[in-house]
Point group: C2
Chain length 237, copies 2
Protein backbone atom coordinates (compact mmCIF):
# COMPACT_ATOMS: atom_id res chain seq x y z
CA UNK A 1 0.00 0.00 0.00
CA UNK A 2 1.26 3.49 -0.71
CA UNK A 3 2.62 5.73 2.01
CA UNK A 4 1.14 8.95 3.42
CA UNK A 5 3.17 11.58 5.23
CA UNK A 6 1.44 13.47 8.05
CA UNK A 7 3.17 16.39 9.70
CA UNK A 8 1.83 18.46 12.58
CA UNK A 9 3.30 21.40 14.43
CA UNK A 10 1.88 22.86 17.64
CA UNK A 11 3.51 25.82 19.33
CA UNK A 12 2.86 28.44 21.95
CA UNK A 13 4.70 31.39 23.49
CA UNK A 14 6.25 31.86 26.87
CA UNK A 15 3.55 33.17 29.23
CA UNK A 16 2.88 36.91 28.87
CA UNK A 17 5.29 37.17 25.92
CA UNK A 18 3.86 38.42 22.63
CA UNK A 19 6.60 37.01 20.45
CA UNK A 20 7.84 33.46 20.31
CA UNK A 21 11.58 32.86 19.87
CA UNK A 22 10.67 29.52 18.31
CA UNK A 23 9.85 29.42 14.64
CA UNK A 24 8.74 26.49 12.55
CA UNK A 25 8.19 26.17 8.83
CA UNK A 26 7.20 23.28 6.56
CA UNK A 27 8.14 23.29 2.90
CA UNK A 28 8.00 20.88 0.00
CA UNK A 29 11.41 19.53 -1.04
CA UNK A 30 12.28 20.04 -4.70
CA UNK A 31 13.28 16.36 -5.00
CA UNK A 32 10.00 15.24 -3.39
CA UNK A 33 8.85 15.03 0.21
CA UNK A 34 8.71 17.57 3.00
CA UNK A 35 11.09 19.34 5.35
CA UNK A 36 10.25 20.92 8.69
CA UNK A 37 12.64 23.56 10.04
CA UNK A 38 12.52 24.43 13.74
CA UNK A 39 14.65 27.20 15.21
CA UNK A 40 14.71 28.19 18.88
CA UNK A 41 16.48 31.55 19.10
CA UNK A 42 18.44 32.35 22.26
CA UNK A 43 16.34 34.15 24.88
CA UNK A 44 12.71 35.12 24.34
CA UNK A 45 10.63 38.00 23.06
CA UNK A 46 11.25 40.18 20.04
CA UNK A 47 15.05 39.75 19.67
CA UNK A 48 14.77 35.96 19.84
CA UNK A 49 11.94 36.08 17.31
CA UNK A 50 13.97 38.16 14.84
CA UNK A 51 16.94 35.81 15.21
CA UNK A 52 14.88 32.67 14.69
CA UNK A 53 13.05 34.14 11.69
CA UNK A 54 16.36 35.13 10.10
CA UNK A 55 17.84 31.67 10.54
CA UNK A 56 14.70 29.88 9.37
CA UNK A 57 14.60 32.18 6.33
CA UNK A 58 18.11 31.13 5.33
CA UNK A 59 17.35 27.45 5.95
CA UNK A 60 14.11 27.50 3.96
CA UNK A 61 15.81 29.24 1.01
CA UNK A 62 18.60 26.69 0.86
CA UNK A 63 16.29 23.69 1.26
CA UNK A 64 13.99 25.01 -1.48
CA UNK A 65 17.03 25.27 -3.74
CA UNK A 66 17.68 21.57 -3.22
CA UNK A 67 20.67 21.87 -0.87
CA UNK A 68 21.07 18.74 1.30
CA UNK A 69 20.07 19.04 4.95
CA UNK A 70 23.53 18.60 6.46
CA UNK A 71 24.92 21.40 4.28
CA UNK A 72 22.00 23.65 5.24
CA UNK A 73 22.68 23.14 8.95
CA UNK A 74 26.38 23.92 8.45
CA UNK A 75 25.60 26.98 6.32
CA UNK A 76 23.13 28.42 8.82
CA UNK A 77 25.63 27.89 11.64
CA UNK A 78 28.54 29.38 9.69
CA UNK A 79 26.56 32.46 8.79
CA UNK A 80 25.38 33.01 12.37
CA UNK A 81 28.91 32.49 13.68
CA UNK A 82 30.45 34.83 11.09
CA UNK A 83 28.04 37.69 11.75
CA UNK A 84 27.47 37.32 15.49
CA UNK A 85 31.02 36.29 16.41
CA UNK A 86 30.04 33.38 18.66
CA UNK A 87 27.92 35.57 20.92
CA UNK A 88 24.47 34.37 19.88
CA UNK A 89 23.16 30.81 19.79
CA UNK A 90 20.08 28.98 18.59
CA UNK A 91 18.92 25.42 18.46
CA UNK A 92 18.35 24.36 14.88
CA UNK A 93 16.53 21.28 13.61
CA UNK A 94 15.50 19.95 10.23
CA UNK A 95 13.27 16.90 9.90
CA UNK A 96 12.83 15.74 6.34
CA UNK A 97 10.88 13.01 4.66
CA UNK A 98 13.01 12.57 1.56
CA UNK A 99 11.36 10.63 -1.24
CA UNK A 100 14.62 10.29 -3.20
CA UNK A 101 16.37 8.29 -0.47
CA UNK A 102 13.10 6.97 1.02
CA UNK A 103 14.25 7.99 4.48
CA UNK A 104 13.27 10.26 7.33
CA UNK A 105 16.23 12.36 8.39
CA UNK A 106 16.56 14.41 11.57
CA UNK A 107 19.46 16.89 11.29
CA UNK A 108 19.89 18.45 14.70
CA UNK A 109 21.82 21.10 16.54
CA UNK A 110 20.03 20.95 19.85
CA UNK A 111 20.10 19.38 23.26
CA UNK A 112 16.71 17.69 23.39
CA UNK A 113 16.43 14.12 22.12
CA UNK A 114 14.22 13.11 19.22
CA UNK A 115 11.65 10.44 20.03
CA UNK A 116 11.05 7.68 17.51
CA UNK A 117 8.24 5.10 17.37
CA UNK A 118 9.02 2.00 15.29
CA UNK A 119 7.10 -1.25 15.37
CA UNK A 120 5.23 -0.04 18.45
CA UNK A 121 8.49 0.57 20.37
CA UNK A 122 9.52 4.00 21.62
CA UNK A 123 13.13 5.04 21.45
CA UNK A 124 14.83 8.27 22.45
CA UNK A 125 17.69 9.31 20.17
CA UNK A 126 20.01 11.69 22.00
CA UNK A 127 21.40 14.83 20.36
CA UNK A 128 25.01 15.50 21.17
CA UNK A 129 25.69 18.43 18.90
CA UNK A 130 24.43 21.37 20.98
CA UNK A 131 23.17 24.66 19.50
CA UNK A 132 24.60 26.56 16.52
CA UNK A 133 26.38 29.91 16.68
CA UNK A 134 28.89 29.41 19.49
CA UNK A 135 31.94 27.55 18.14
CA UNK A 136 33.86 27.11 14.89
CA UNK A 137 32.84 24.17 12.71
CA UNK A 138 29.77 23.06 14.64
CA UNK A 139 28.24 19.97 13.01
CA UNK A 140 24.77 18.52 13.35
CA UNK A 141 23.77 15.16 14.82
CA UNK A 142 22.07 13.21 12.03
CA UNK A 143 19.61 10.33 12.46
CA UNK A 144 18.38 8.63 9.31
CA UNK A 145 15.56 6.09 9.37
CA UNK A 146 13.84 4.13 6.60
CA UNK A 147 10.52 5.75 5.60
CA UNK A 148 8.09 2.97 6.54
CA UNK A 149 4.47 2.94 7.63
CA UNK A 150 4.18 3.02 11.42
CA UNK A 151 7.24 5.24 11.86
CA UNK A 152 6.58 8.31 13.99
CA UNK A 153 9.08 10.94 14.99
CA UNK A 154 8.54 13.59 17.66
CA UNK A 155 10.78 16.58 18.10
CA UNK A 156 10.44 19.42 20.60
CA UNK A 157 12.28 22.52 21.74
CA UNK A 158 13.93 22.74 25.15
CA UNK A 159 10.96 24.54 26.71
CA UNK A 160 9.07 21.25 26.45
CA UNK A 161 11.91 19.20 27.93
CA UNK A 162 12.17 21.60 30.90
CA UNK A 163 8.40 22.10 31.38
CA UNK A 164 7.57 22.07 35.08
CA UNK A 165 11.21 22.58 36.16
CA UNK A 166 10.62 26.08 37.50
CA UNK A 167 7.75 24.99 39.70
CA UNK A 168 9.80 22.16 41.14
CA UNK A 169 8.38 19.18 39.25
CA UNK A 170 10.60 16.29 38.29
CA UNK A 171 12.10 16.58 34.78
CA UNK A 172 9.69 15.89 31.93
CA UNK A 173 10.62 12.49 30.47
CA UNK A 174 8.85 12.88 27.14
CA UNK A 175 9.62 9.34 25.92
CA UNK A 176 8.03 7.79 29.03
CA UNK A 177 5.03 10.11 28.75
CA UNK A 178 4.50 9.12 25.12
CA UNK A 179 4.89 5.41 25.95
CA UNK A 180 2.33 5.67 28.79
CA UNK A 181 -0.18 7.44 26.58
CA UNK A 182 0.16 4.89 23.74
CA UNK A 183 1.17 7.79 21.52
CA UNK A 184 2.63 5.59 18.77
CA UNK A 185 -0.88 4.78 17.62
CA UNK A 186 -1.92 8.42 17.29
CA UNK A 187 -2.09 10.62 14.22
CA UNK A 188 0.37 13.49 13.86
CA UNK A 189 -2.09 16.24 14.92
CA UNK A 190 -3.21 14.38 18.02
CA UNK A 191 0.37 13.51 18.96
CA UNK A 192 1.63 17.11 18.69
CA UNK A 193 -1.43 18.55 20.43
CA UNK A 194 -1.29 16.12 23.36
CA UNK A 195 2.38 16.60 24.00
CA UNK A 196 2.08 20.39 23.86
CA UNK A 197 -0.95 20.32 26.17
CA UNK A 198 0.97 18.16 28.67
CA UNK A 199 3.95 20.56 28.61
CA UNK A 200 1.65 23.53 29.22
CA UNK A 201 -0.06 21.65 32.07
CA UNK A 202 3.31 20.90 33.67
CA UNK A 203 4.10 24.61 33.54
CA UNK A 204 0.82 25.33 35.44
CA UNK A 205 -0.70 26.78 32.25
CA UNK A 206 1.92 29.53 32.22
CA UNK A 207 4.69 28.28 29.93
CA UNK A 208 8.09 29.26 31.32
CA UNK A 209 9.55 29.24 27.79
CA UNK A 210 8.42 29.09 24.17
CA UNK A 211 7.18 25.58 23.40
CA UNK A 212 7.21 23.84 20.02
CA UNK A 213 6.32 20.26 19.16
CA UNK A 214 6.67 18.63 15.74
CA UNK A 215 5.26 15.21 14.90
CA UNK A 216 5.92 13.35 11.65
CA UNK A 217 3.91 10.17 11.14
CA UNK A 218 4.11 7.78 8.19
CA UNK A 219 1.15 5.53 7.50
CA UNK A 220 -0.43 3.40 4.78
CA UNK A 221 -3.29 4.93 2.88
CA UNK A 222 -5.87 3.87 0.30
CA UNK A 223 -7.07 7.35 -0.61
CA UNK A 224 -8.24 8.04 -4.12
CA UNK A 225 -7.91 10.63 -5.59
CA UNK A 226 -4.71 11.79 -3.88
CA UNK A 227 -5.50 15.07 -2.16
CA UNK A 228 -2.82 17.01 -0.38
CA UNK A 229 -4.12 19.12 2.50
CA UNK A 230 -2.33 21.78 4.42
CA UNK A 231 -3.61 24.08 7.10
CA UNK A 232 -2.40 26.77 9.47
CA UNK A 233 -4.34 28.18 12.42
CA UNK A 234 -2.77 31.26 13.91
CA UNK A 235 -4.62 32.96 16.78
CA UNK A 236 -3.24 36.47 17.37
CA UNK A 237 -2.88 38.18 20.76
Amino acid sequence: MPLAIDVAIAKTNKYASRDSGDSAEVIERPGGGLSVVVVDGQGSGSAAKTLSMMLSSKAVSLLKEGVRDGAVARAVHDSLFAYRHGRVSASFDIVSVDLRTKTVIATRNAQTPVIVCRGGEIESLPTTSGPIGLYHFTRPTVSQLPAEPGLALVLFTDGVATAGDRIGSAGFDVASYLAESAACALGADELANRLLAEAIRRDNNRPADDLTVVAVVLRDHAEEPLIRRQSVRMPLP
Copy 2:
Protein backbone atom coordinates in the same frame (compact mmCIF):
# COMPACT_ATOMS: atom_id res chain seq x y z
CA MET B 1 -11.82 40.33 20.38
CA PRO B 2 -8.51 39.29 18.88
CA LEU B 3 -8.23 37.94 15.38
CA ALA B 4 -7.31 34.42 14.25
CA ILE B 5 -5.97 33.59 10.81
CA ASP B 6 -6.97 30.24 9.31
CA VAL B 7 -5.41 29.09 6.06
CA ALA B 8 -6.20 25.88 4.21
CA ILE B 9 -4.84 24.46 0.99
CA ALA B 10 -6.29 21.47 -0.83
CA LYS B 11 -4.75 20.20 -4.04
CA THR B 12 -4.77 17.22 -6.36
CA ASN B 13 -3.10 16.17 -9.58
CA LYS B 14 -4.41 15.81 -13.07
CA TYR B 15 -5.84 12.29 -13.45
CA ALA B 16 -3.18 9.63 -14.05
CA SER B 17 -0.37 12.15 -13.62
CA ARG B 18 2.14 11.50 -10.87
CA ASP B 19 3.39 15.06 -10.61
CA SER B 20 1.36 18.18 -10.08
CA GLY B 21 2.39 21.35 -11.94
CA ASP B 22 0.73 23.31 -9.15
CA SER B 23 2.73 24.04 -6.06
CA ALA B 24 1.64 25.79 -2.90
CA GLU B 25 3.61 26.88 0.14
CA VAL B 26 2.69 28.73 3.33
CA ILE B 27 5.32 30.65 5.26
CA GLU B 28 5.41 33.04 8.18
CA ARG B 29 6.19 36.64 7.21
CA PRO B 30 9.15 38.18 9.02
CA GLY B 31 7.04 41.26 9.83
CA GLY B 32 4.21 39.10 11.19
CA GLY B 33 1.42 37.19 9.50
CA LEU B 34 1.40 34.57 6.79
CA SER B 35 1.91 34.34 3.05
CA VAL B 36 0.64 31.64 0.71
CA VAL B 37 2.40 31.22 -2.64
CA VAL B 38 0.62 29.33 -5.43
CA VAL B 39 2.31 28.62 -8.74
CA ASP B 40 0.72 26.80 -11.66
CA GLY B 41 3.49 25.90 -14.09
CA GLN B 42 2.68 25.71 -17.79
CA GLY B 43 1.63 22.21 -18.90
CA SER B 44 1.51 19.24 -16.55
CA GLY B 45 3.71 16.42 -15.31
CA SER B 46 7.34 16.55 -14.37
CA ALA B 47 8.48 19.61 -16.39
CA ALA B 48 5.60 21.71 -15.01
CA LYS B 49 6.40 20.49 -11.50
CA THR B 50 10.07 21.48 -11.79
CA LEU B 51 9.11 24.90 -13.13
CA SER B 52 6.58 25.59 -10.39
CA MET B 53 8.94 24.40 -7.66
CA MET B 54 11.70 26.66 -8.99
CA LEU B 55 9.43 29.70 -9.06
CA SER B 56 7.93 29.00 -5.64
CA SER B 57 11.45 28.54 -4.26
CA LYS B 58 12.43 32.01 -5.43
CA ALA B 59 9.20 33.53 -4.11
CA VAL B 60 9.49 31.90 -0.70
CA SER B 61 13.13 33.02 -0.33
CA LEU B 62 12.30 36.63 -1.12
CA LEU B 63 9.19 36.72 1.10
CA LYS B 64 11.15 35.22 4.00
CA GLU B 65 13.74 37.97 3.55
CA GLY B 66 11.00 40.55 4.04
CA VAL B 67 10.64 41.68 0.40
CA ARG B 68 7.18 43.15 -0.29
CA ASP B 69 4.75 41.00 -2.27
CA GLY B 70 4.58 43.22 -5.37
CA ALA B 71 8.38 43.21 -5.70
CA VAL B 72 8.44 39.42 -5.27
CA ALA B 73 5.94 38.95 -8.11
CA ARG B 74 7.97 41.25 -10.38
CA ALA B 75 11.23 39.54 -9.45
CA VAL B 76 9.88 36.04 -10.11
CA HIS B 77 8.50 37.18 -13.47
CA ASP B 78 11.71 38.98 -14.47
CA SER B 79 13.83 35.97 -13.64
CA LEU B 80 11.59 33.58 -15.56
CA PHE B 81 11.49 35.95 -18.54
CA ALA B 82 15.27 36.46 -18.49
CA TYR B 83 16.11 32.76 -18.40
CA ARG B 84 13.31 31.31 -20.52
CA HIS B 85 13.09 34.14 -23.05
CA GLY B 86 9.30 34.49 -23.01
CA ARG B 87 8.75 30.86 -23.98
CA VAL B 88 7.49 29.51 -20.65
CA SER B 89 4.63 30.83 -18.56
CA ALA B 90 3.13 30.20 -15.14
CA SER B 91 0.33 31.64 -13.09
CA PHE B 92 1.67 33.12 -9.89
CA ASP B 93 -0.28 34.17 -6.79
CA ILE B 94 0.63 35.40 -3.35
CA VAL B 95 -2.02 35.85 -0.67
CA SER B 96 -0.72 37.47 2.48
CA VAL B 97 -2.19 38.37 5.82
CA ASP B 98 0.13 41.21 6.76
CA LEU B 99 0.03 42.20 10.42
CA ARG B 100 2.04 45.38 9.82
CA THR B 101 -0.55 46.93 7.50
CA LYS B 102 -3.46 44.92 8.99
CA THR B 103 -4.56 43.91 5.51
CA VAL B 104 -5.08 40.86 3.39
CA ILE B 105 -3.34 41.27 0.05
CA ALA B 106 -3.81 39.16 -3.07
CA THR B 107 -0.97 39.75 -5.55
CA ARG B 108 -1.90 37.92 -8.72
CA ASN B 109 -0.59 37.02 -12.12
CA ALA B 110 -3.35 34.71 -13.23
CA GLN B 111 -6.61 34.57 -15.11
CA THR B 112 -8.94 33.17 -12.47
CA PRO B 113 -10.76 35.62 -10.20
CA VAL B 114 -10.30 35.69 -6.44
CA ILE B 115 -13.52 35.24 -4.46
CA VAL B 116 -14.06 37.39 -1.38
CA CYS B 117 -16.67 37.06 1.38
CA ARG B 118 -17.28 40.23 3.38
CA GLY B 119 -20.24 40.86 5.66
CA GLY B 120 -21.93 37.74 4.30
CA GLU B 121 -21.69 39.01 0.69
CA ILE B 122 -19.73 37.19 -2.00
CA GLU B 123 -17.77 39.16 -4.53
CA SER B 124 -15.60 38.01 -7.43
CA LEU B 125 -12.52 40.16 -8.00
CA PRO B 126 -11.27 39.70 -11.57
CA THR B 127 -7.59 39.30 -12.37
CA THR B 128 -6.50 41.16 -15.48
CA SER B 129 -2.76 40.60 -15.32
CA GLY B 130 -2.38 37.18 -16.97
CA PRO B 131 0.48 34.77 -16.25
CA ILE B 132 4.14 35.60 -15.74
CA GLY B 133 6.96 34.73 -18.12
CA LEU B 134 5.64 35.86 -21.51
CA TYR B 135 6.14 39.63 -21.87
CA HIS B 136 8.49 42.35 -20.67
CA PHE B 137 7.46 44.20 -17.53
CA THR B 138 4.49 42.07 -16.52
CA ARG B 139 2.86 43.47 -13.38
CA PRO B 140 0.54 41.78 -10.91
CA THR B 141 -3.07 42.66 -10.14
CA VAL B 142 -3.22 43.61 -6.46
CA SER B 143 -6.30 43.53 -4.22
CA GLN B 144 -5.88 44.80 -0.68
CA LEU B 145 -8.60 44.36 1.94
CA PRO B 146 -8.75 45.29 5.63
CA ALA B 147 -8.02 42.28 7.86
CA GLU B 148 -11.35 41.97 9.71
CA PRO B 149 -13.19 39.04 11.28
CA GLY B 150 -15.63 37.51 8.80
CA LEU B 151 -13.38 38.13 5.80
CA ALA B 152 -12.77 35.06 3.68
CA LEU B 153 -10.78 34.84 0.51
CA VAL B 154 -10.76 31.91 -1.89
CA LEU B 155 -8.23 31.49 -4.65
CA PHE B 156 -7.91 28.63 -7.13
CA THR B 157 -5.88 27.62 -10.15
CA ASP B 158 -7.37 27.49 -13.64
CA GLY B 159 -8.01 23.74 -13.47
CA VAL B 160 -10.76 24.54 -10.95
CA ALA B 161 -12.26 27.31 -13.09
CA THR B 162 -12.37 24.99 -16.13
CA ALA B 163 -13.50 21.85 -14.22
CA GLY B 164 -16.13 20.02 -16.25
CA ASP B 165 -15.32 21.89 -19.48
CA ARG B 166 -13.89 18.85 -21.23
CA ILE B 167 -16.95 16.75 -20.54
CA GLY B 168 -19.23 19.47 -21.90
CA SER B 169 -20.57 20.95 -18.65
CA ALA B 170 -21.31 24.65 -18.43
CA GLY B 171 -18.38 26.73 -17.05
CA PHE B 172 -17.84 26.43 -13.30
CA ASP B 173 -19.01 29.68 -11.73
CA VAL B 174 -17.19 29.32 -8.42
CA ALA B 175 -18.67 32.49 -6.88
CA SER B 176 -22.24 31.26 -7.46
CA TYR B 177 -21.37 27.81 -6.18
CA LEU B 178 -19.92 29.27 -2.97
CA ALA B 179 -22.94 31.57 -2.55
CA GLU B 180 -25.37 28.63 -2.95
CA SER B 181 -23.48 26.51 -0.45
CA ALA B 182 -23.38 29.31 2.18
CA ALA B 183 -19.61 28.98 2.09
CA CYS B 184 -18.97 32.32 3.81
CA ALA B 185 -19.91 30.72 7.12
CA LEU B 186 -17.45 27.84 6.76
CA GLY B 187 -14.00 27.41 8.25
CA ALA B 188 -10.98 27.49 5.95
CA ASP B 189 -10.48 23.69 5.84
CA GLU B 190 -14.11 22.99 5.04
CA LEU B 191 -14.19 25.74 2.40
CA ALA B 192 -11.10 24.49 0.58
CA ASN B 193 -12.13 20.83 0.82
CA ARG B 194 -15.67 21.44 -0.47
CA LEU B 195 -14.59 23.53 -3.42
CA LEU B 196 -11.92 21.01 -4.43
CA ALA B 197 -14.39 18.12 -4.08
CA GLU B 198 -16.89 19.97 -6.29
CA ALA B 199 -14.23 20.61 -8.95
CA ILE B 200 -13.24 16.92 -8.93
CA ARG B 201 -16.92 15.92 -9.18
CA ARG B 202 -17.40 18.22 -12.18
CA ASP B 203 -14.44 16.51 -13.86
CA ASN B 204 -16.17 13.12 -13.33
CA ASN B 205 -13.61 12.21 -10.64
CA ARG B 206 -10.81 12.38 -13.23
CA PRO B 207 -9.38 15.88 -12.98
CA ALA B 208 -8.50 17.22 -16.44
CA ASP B 209 -5.82 19.45 -14.93
CA ASP B 210 -3.99 19.99 -11.64
CA LEU B 211 -6.36 21.55 -9.12
CA THR B 212 -5.44 23.79 -6.20
CA VAL B 213 -7.71 25.69 -3.82
CA VAL B 214 -6.57 28.11 -1.12
CA ALA B 215 -8.90 29.52 1.55
CA VAL B 216 -7.94 32.26 4.00
CA VAL B 217 -10.49 32.97 6.72
CA LEU B 218 -10.25 35.61 9.45
CA ARG B 219 -12.32 35.15 12.58
CA ASP B 220 -12.60 36.27 16.19
CA HIS B 221 -11.22 33.96 18.82
CA ALA B 222 -11.13 33.68 22.58
CA GLU B 223 -8.46 30.97 22.80
CA GLU B 224 -6.12 30.91 25.74
CA PRO B 225 -3.25 30.05 25.66
CA LEU B 226 -2.52 31.01 22.04
CA ILE B 227 -1.55 27.83 20.23
CA ARG B 228 -0.46 27.91 16.64
CA ARG B 229 -1.20 24.71 14.76
CA GLN B 230 0.01 23.66 11.38
CA SER B 231 -0.47 20.41 9.53
CA VAL B 232 0.31 18.79 6.22
CA ARG B 233 -1.16 15.56 4.92
CA MET B 234 0.55 14.23 1.85
CA PRO B 235 -0.64 10.89 0.45
CA LEU B 236 1.89 9.49 -2.03
CA PRO B 237 1.07 7.54 -5.21
